[in-house]
Amino acid sequence: MASETHVETLALREQFDTAEQQKDASTLGMWVFLITEVMFFGGLFLLYTVYRHLYPMVFAVASSSLNAVIGAVNTAVLLCSSYTMVLAVRAAQLGQRKAIVIFLILTLILGFAFLGVKAYEWNVKFEEHHVPGASFHFEGMAPELQRNAQLFFSLYFAMTGLHALHMVIGVGILSVLIFQAYKGKFTAEYMTPVDVAGLYWHFVDIIWIFLFPLLYLIDRHLPK
C-alpha cells in the first residue's frame, strides 16, 4: 500500500496531477463547447449571408424598420454585463467572496435588462405585423417582395431568439453561481465554475456583437 494519501478536494480532483492541469482541462472543455456553439450559430449566419446576398435591397429596407438606437443601447447593456462579469471573475481569482456576489448580481440585473428590452422590441414587431406568418405585412413594399421581407424577419427572430435563449440559460447559471458564491464555495484556489461561466457569458456577448450590426444597421443611409 502506498503510504501517501491523496486528499481529494474541489481544487484538485484525483485524476489530475496539478491544480493547473485541472484548470486547463476545464478551460479547454468550455472552449470546445463554445466552438460547437460557433458552428450552431454559424448555420444561421450562413443563411443570413446567402439571403442578404440574394435580396440586398429588401434586407436594407426591412432592417431599417428596427430601432437602431434601442439596439445600440441594448448592445451597451450587454457590454456592461460582460464588464461586471469579468470583474466577478477577477474577484474570484483574488478570493473576494463579497465582491464575487456583488458583481454576479450586477451581471444578472444587466442580463435581465437586456432580455426586457428584447421583449419590448419583439412586442413592437408583433404589433407592426412584422412577424413571419399569415398576418405578415410590410408597409410600402411591393407584394412580390413581401416573402423576401419575411425571410429577413424569420432570420431576425431565429437569431435573436436563439441568442435570447442563451441569455436565459446564462441567467440560470448566474443565479446558481450567486447562491454558491454567497455560501463561500469559491476561493482563490478553486473558482473554476465562475471562470468557465464567464467564458460562456462573454461568448453570448460576442454573438450579439455580430448580430447588432448585421440585423440593425444595414445601409441606414438609404432614403426610405
Binding site: A19, E20, K23, D24, T27, L28, W31, V32, L34, I35, V38, M39, G42, G43, F45, L46, T49, V50, H53, L54, A68, V69, G71, A72, T75, A76, L79, C80, S82, Y83, M85, V86, L87, R90, Q93, L94, E189, G198, L199, H202, F203, D205, I206, I209, F210, F212, P213, L214, L217, I218, D219, R220, H221
Partner: protein
Amino acid sequence: MSEHIDSIRTYTGVWLVLLALTAGTTAVAYVDLGPFSVVIALVIAFTKMLLVALFFMHIRYSSKLTRLVVVGGLLWLGILLSLTMADVATRHW
C-alpha cells in the same frame, strides 16, 4: 496557480473602447460608404470580438492548445461561409 490577474484599470479601458466602438458602428451606418458599409461594420465587430476574447476571455494568457482550438473553430466557420458563398455568388439561377 500561475494565474495572471489583470488590473481593474485594464478591464475598464477595454470596456470603454467597446462602448465607443458600439457608438461608432451605429453612427457610421448612417454615412453613405457604398459597399464599404458592411466592410466597416464587420471590421468593427471583429475588433470588438478580439477585445472581448483577448482580455475578458483571457486568451492572452491561455495555453497554446486552447488557442489552437479557438483558431481551428473559426477556420471551419470560415470554410463554411466561404465555400458556400463561392457557390451561391457564382451561380446563374
